[in-house]
C-alpha cells in the first residue's frame, strides 16, 4: 500500500476536545482499512493567515501530521469526511516522498559532466 501523510490543522481547543478530534480522525482512517504509522504534534501556533471554515474565522490552530498506509481508493472519502468535521480547519493529504536522498546532488552531477 502506498504511504500518505495527512497534515491536519485543528481548531484551537482544550486538550480533551483536541484528543477527541484526533481519535475521531484516526478511527475514520482505520475503519476504511488504513494503517496509521506515526502521529506528530507540531504544536499550537498562530495561523499564517485567517482561515474561514464552517462559518468561523480561525486565527490560532494546532498542527498535526499523521503518517499512514492506505489504498488510494479511500482517500476521497477520508478527505470528504474531514471537510465535514467542524473541528478540522484544513486537512491535506499528500503522498509521502521517500526517494529524495537517493538523487545525486548538483556538485556530483557537475563533476560527472566535467569528466565525461
Amino acid at each position: 500500500m502506498p504511504r500518505y501523510e495527512l497534515a491536519l490543522i485543528l481548531k484551537a481547543m482544550q486538550r480533551p476536545e483536541t484528543a477527541a478530534a484526533l481519535r475521531r480522525t484516526v478511527e475514520t482512517l482505520m475503519v476504511r482499512g488504513a494503517v496509521v504509522r506515526d502521529m506528530e504534534n507540531l504544536g499550537e501556533r498562530l495561523l499564517p493567515y485567517v482561515m474561514t471554515k464552517h462559518n468561523q474565522r480561525h486565527r490560532r490552530g494546532s498542527y498535526f501530521l499523521i503518517d499512514f498506509y492506505a489504498a488510494p481508493s479511500i482517500l476521497t472519502d477520508v478527505v470528504d469526511h474531514l471537510h465535514r468535521d467542524v473541528d478540522v480547519v484544513r486537512p491535506t493529504v499528500l503522498k509521502k516522498d521517500t526517494q529524495s536522498s537517493k538523487q545525486t546532488c548538483c556538485a556530483l552531477l557537475a563533476s560527472k559532466l566535467a569528466d565525461g
Partner: protein, 132 residues
C-alpha cells in the same frame, strides 16, 4: 628512490642488450619507452584539482514543514519567492524550494504576503541587500 630509477633504466637497457637478436639502436626514445613500461606512475588525474562546488542546498532535503529554511528564500516585505539569480541555487533545488513554498502556502503552514516576524533575524543567504 634514485637507485630504483637508475636500476630500472639499466634493467631496461640490459634486457634490450640481452634480447638483441636483431641489432636495435640504443636511442633515448627507446630508453624512455622502456622506462614507461616499468614506471607505473605515468598516467594520473590532476592531483591539484579542486572538488566541484555545488549550491548551498546540495545535501539538504527540502521539506514543506521546514518553514524556517523556506523563509530564507522569500522577500521579508512582500513574501515573494526570489529568482535563481538572487538565491544562487542550482536548477533542481530552486524548483524544489519553489514547489515547497507553494505547497506550504496552500496547506496553511506559511504566510503568502509576508515573512514570519520570528524569522526576520535569520542570516541572509540570498545576494540581495535590503534598504531598510
Amino acid at each position: 628512490m634514485f637507485h630504483l630509477k637508475r636500476s630500472r633504466l639499466l634493467f631496461g637497457v640490459f634486457s634490450r642488450l640481452q634480447n638483441a637478436s636483431k641489432p636495435t639502436a640504443l636511442t633515448s626514445a627507446s630508453i624512455y619507452q622502456d622506462q614507461v613500461k616499468h614506471n607505473p606512475f605515468v598516467k594520473m588525474d590532476n592531483p591539484y584539482k579542486e572538488p566541484h562546488k555545488g549550491c548551498i542546498l546540495c545535501n539538504v532535503t527540502v521539506d514543506f514543514k521546514n518553514i524556517q529554511l523556506l523563509s530564507q528564500f522569500i522577500s521579508p516585505h512582500t513574501g515573494r519567492i526570489y529568482g535563481r539569480h538572487i538565491t544562487g541555487l542550482c536548477g533542481r533545488k530552486q524548483r524544489e524550494i519553489s514547489k515547497a513554498i507553494k505547497k506550504a502556502h496552500a496547506m496553511g503552514f506559511m504566510s503568502v504576503t509576508h515573512k514570519h516576524p520570528d524569522l526576520m533575524r535569520d542570516p541572509n543567504i540570498c545576494s540581495i541587500k535590503h534598504v531598510d
